[in-house]
């Protein structure tokens, strides 16, 4: 079996395990992604969460690095992650999880510029923030562990190891996905393709998955409700309709994308039909508003590269609509704020690049994840590079400080306003080839995975079972087919408890002619052992001309009584039937014994006068019980209340020891314990021949066989080596 060593305790876990069975540390197994909305783990191949149907950001990572500012839908996709933090947050002054979720909700209400930053980058960034948040929280909880509730105690597997693991993997994925030489870009694309088969190699998808996993773990690591906060109810999440979700699950893959939107990473299901309410509102803006915007806009050339086109939310809509989506009020407002910024950001001062910063922090490694082809495009043409904000420089300010090759968002957004920047550029053949390859990748259907872990393990002990069961069957077959076996086993058969059985017999005979109450407290399950006793008792009572009243605390018991009474000839039977309420029901019945005048009805049923009379005259109560509770109910509720009545019991062999104290204290005047006692009562005391007695020999041999198996087994394992612990204390009882 393939095993995965736990990074924390190096315990060898099954490859199927996502957490260390020993210490609970996450093992980050490939192929699963955690839903940002409900934090349920879902096979990566699925595009939507199986539980809440939210779009799984990590399921289609390729579309994210390609998001253009106009891609409103992707803004939403990114927003569905509770970890999408607004740009004004920096790792230095971290908010608590509550703040983050609030920010998140805001980021859904208004289109935040950062949502056009590649989501995988956000996720990684957010993951790192959440890591430090959770570490903070961990410290707090540690300090207050004395007073905290056990719930908060229990959500503390050593999660920090997860992040170390994450960072370790980021390093490797960096090594793989950041080819030093532009020529290696093909390799990088190969890596992406390989990832569809869930290879172990690090790549963007892997990275995004790890980031999401780590981030959501971090979120769940926060004690109390904050860590588990659901997205606010009023937040429209991008979700397909239920039927579409299920259909998609059946297909197990991404739908072919809208030809205009394909490279923009906007799956069709996120198009206008699926847009959240607030976005639909934007689409239905009055024309005059649109005019205002169109005044300043020069539409881009139709000749430009497909992948640079703005997202079109609906196949029917033209590019203009696409632009309209970009330039909504909130966006405009935001842009205004930008222009008010006192210090102009780097991108405004063209050509001027920031000084290099040595690759140290985690974020540097994150930044290094920028796809190589983007760099190539940048090398190919300055305008596009400017448009996309890709420069071979390391950011020295803002939230991507120290990140190399981070996509500058502001110029990208501004570009959609300043149309001239988008007009004249051309695409080299090389780029077109890359586009073609990229298109093919986007269209590659991920292989649907089944969670292997839920496959039930094999049942390994069939042979042992067949051997033991076969042996038992043969024994009984032998005993049934060869009745003479009863003869030579006569002296060795099951030994009846003669004393108790004789007392039972005496009480039965003493009650001759008097009404006797027989309680059937067993279901057909135990009929095999108790029916023989019931038959003997009812038969003898019929012979004694004792009126018999049958009663039961269970509905099945009263049916069993009826079935047995059918076969007894000359039985004066009155059925009281089912007594609901167990102990209390029996108490009420006991009152009928002691106070017959106030017993016209019992549990809503009218009691005939004759039956009332018989109840008051009952001198013997026979309890036929298969479980201790109902037996004890009778002893305590009826036996204790009705002083002048005698209790005897017919029970299974199992209950034998339970009745010992009650017999000793005289609460039970006699017991017949199981089949052997029944045979003894019938044959030896009542002198009635019972063919069933031959079965005793079969049972005896079966018991010997079982004991033989146990002894043989014990000897075998003793010989093969019995490594006893020094003290058995720790072991089972």
């Amino acid at each position: 079996m393939i095993t995965v060593a736990c990074p924390n305790c190096s315990f060898e876990n099954s490859a199927l395990s996502r957490r260390c069975t020993s210490c609970g540390t996450a093992l980050l197994i490939e192929g699963y992604v955690r839903c940002d909305n409900c934090r349920v783990l879902t096979p990566k191949a699925l595009e939507f969460c199986e539980l809440c149907g939210s779009y799984l950001a990590a399921a289609a990572p390729f579309d994210k690095p390609l998001i253009l500012p106009s891609s409103r839908q992707d803004a939403n996709v990114a927003d569905t992650s509770p970890l999408t933090l607004p740009a004004n947050l920096s790792t230095e002054n971290l908010p608590d999880a509550q703040e983050i979720t609030e920010q998140y909700s805001q980021s859904e209400r208004q289109d935040q510029p950062e949502s056009s930053i590649p989501a995988w980058l956000l996720d990684v960034d957010a993951a790192l923030k959440m890591r430090s948040i959770s570490e903070k929280k961990a410290d707090e909880t540690d300090s207050s562990s004395a007073t905290k509730s056990p719930e908060s105690k229990k959500v503390e597997p050593p999660r920090t190891d997860v992040y170390d693991e994450l960072l370790r993997r980021l390093d490797t994925s960096h090594a793989v996905t950041q080819p030093a030489d532009p020529k290696e870009s093909e390799d990088w694309l190969e890596v992406l393709e390989v990832d569809d088969d869930n290879s172990e190699q690090g790549n963007i998808e892997d990275l995004a998955f790890q980031a999401l996993a780590a981030a959501s773990l971090a979120a769940s690591h926060l004690p109390g409700k904050e860590g588990r906060a659901d997205p606010p109810e009023d937040q429209p999440l991008v979700q397909p309709r239920a039927e579409e979700r299920t259909e998609r699950r059946q297909k197990g893959s991404t739908q072919p994308l809208d030809p205009k939107g394909k490279l923009l990473g906007v799956p069709q299901q996120l198009a206008a039909t699926e847009l959240p309410a607030w976005l639909s509102d934007q689409l239905q803006r009055p024309d005059e508003d649109e005019e205002e915007y169109f005044d300043d806009i020069e539409l881009p050339e139709p000749s430009r590269a497909t992948y640079l086109e703005p997202t079109v939310p609906d196949a029917e809509q033209d590019e203009t609509d696409g632009e309209v989506i970009v330039l909504d009020a909130s966006f405009d407002k935001w842009l205004k704020q930008l222009s008010d910024e006192p210090a102009a950001p780097d991108w405004m001062t063209e050509g001027e690049s920031s000084p290099d910063v040595p690759f140290e922090s985690d974020s540097v490694q994150m930044g290094a994840e920028t796809p190589q082809w983007l760099h190539d495009i940048h090398e190919a043409e300055g305008d596009t590079a400017l448009l996309l904000g890709i420069e071979e420089t390391v950011e020295d300010s803002g939230r991507f400080a120290g990140i190399k090759g981070a996509i500058q968002i502001e110029p990208a957004i501004a570009a959609s306003l300043i149309g001239t920047r988008m007009v004249d550029y051309s695409i080299s053949k090389e780029q077109q080839q890359k586009i073609a390859i990229l298109e093919s990748i986007v269209h590659t259907k991920p292989v649907k995975q089944k969670p292997k872990a839920v496959e039930p393990p094999r049942d390994s002990s069939v042979r042992m079972r067949v051997l033991l069961a076969g042996a038992l069957f043969l024994v009984f077959l032998f005993a049934t087919v060869v009745p003479s076996s009863a003869e030579w086993l006569k002296d060795s058969t099951l030994q009846p408890a003669t004393k108790q059985t004789e007392q039972f017999y005496d009480q039965l005979m003493l009650a001759a002619g008097e009404p006797v109450l027989v309680a059937f407290e067993y279901t057909p399950a135990m009929a095999g052992e108790l029916n023989p006793i019931a038959n003997v008792v009812l038969g003898q009572l019929a012979d004694n001309d004792s009126p018999v009243i049958t009663v039961s605390q269970s509905a099945a018991g009263s049916e069993v009584a009826a079935i047995i009474a059918e076969d007894i000839e000359g039985l004066d039977l009155e059925q009281l039937g089912y007594i609901p309420g167990e102990a209390v029901g029996l108490r009420s019945l006991a009152e009928c014994f002691s106070d017959p005048d106030n017993c016209e009805t019992l549990f809503g049923e009218e009691i005939p006068a004759e039956l009332q009379e018989n109840l008051s005259a009952v001198s013997l109560i026979v309890i036929l019980a298969s479980d201790s509770d109902s037996l004890i109910d009778w002893i305590e509720q009826v036996g204790a209340q009705v002083k002048d009545s005698t209790l005897i019991a017919g029970i299974t062999q199992l209950l034998g020891p339970v009745t010992v104290p009650y017999s000793a204290s005289g609460q039970l005047k006699g017991t017949v314990s199981g089949f052997p006692d029944a045979i003894y009562l019938q044959q030896d005391l009542l002198g009635i021949e019972n063919e069933a007695s031959e079965r005793v020999s079969g049972i005896t041999i079966a018991i010997w066989l079982a004991a033989g198996f146990l002894i043989a087994g014990a000897v075998y394992y003793a010989v093969t080596g019995l490594n006893l612990p020094r003290s058995g204390k720790a072991k089972d009882r």
Partner: protein
């Protein structure tokens, strides 16, 4: 409103708990009435449970689960027989179904336990290598053989040892466990009656 949601059940729990306690100890008539009411509620709960069983398996049946189909059909058939018995279209239909279907099935399941107990015994030997397992298996073998009297001297010894063990150890063990259970039950019941545990206010 939320406060009513929480406090109303608690108040009812206090009142009915106290009444039931007094009734059970001193006023049987009161106990009979209250437990009758609760029995009625338990029956409603049972019917709701059966409704749940029906709905769960109907859904599975719709998804093509044939076993759930069998369950739903048998459930409906049994209830149908109950109705036809009640309106005297059939006579003893429910009893017949019980006698020929439920009784044999229950008996079969119960008798099958013999195999499983034997398997369990053998597994204890296979897997547990502790003093307690040895004590368990040794006493089990003594009890089993003691029930039958093996021919000869060995039989007598085993019989006597088994009887003594039953009288002394089994009685004490059972007694101790039963008393412990009673103590636990007292503690839990009192917590509920005091309102410290409120499983009804989840």
């Amino acid at each position: 409103m939320n406060q009513i949601r929480q406090s109303l059940p608690l108040a009812l729990a206090y009142v009915f708990g106290a009444l039931a306690l007094i009734g059970l100890l001193f006023v049987p008539a009161l106990a009979k009435t209250i437990t009758g009411w609760v029995g009625f509620l338990a029956v409603i709960a049972l019917l709701i449970g059966i409704l749940n069983l029906f709905s769960v398996h109907s859904r599975r049946l719709v998804r093509g689960n044939i076993y759930s189909g069998v369950l739903v059909v048998s459930l409906v058939a049994m209830i149908g027989l109950g109705i036809t018995d009640f309106i005297e279209l059939t006579d003893g239909g429910v009893s017949a179904a019980f006698k020929y279907v439920q009784a044999p099935l229950e008996a079969a399941f119960a008798s099958m336990l013999a195999f499983f107990l034997l398997f369990a015994g053998v597994r204890v030997i296979q897997r547990r290598r502790s003093w307690w397992a040895i004590i368990f298996i040794t006493s089990l073998v003594i009890f089993l053989l003691g029930r039958t009297s093996l021919p000869g001297f060995l039989g007598e010894i085993l019989g006597t040892v088994s009887d003594i063990m039953t009288l002394v150890f089994v009685s004490s063990g059972m007694r101790g466990i039963l008393i412990g259970i009673a103590l636990g039950a007292i503690a839990v019941s009192i917590r509920v009656l005091m309102g410290t545990d409120r499983p009804y206010n989840k």
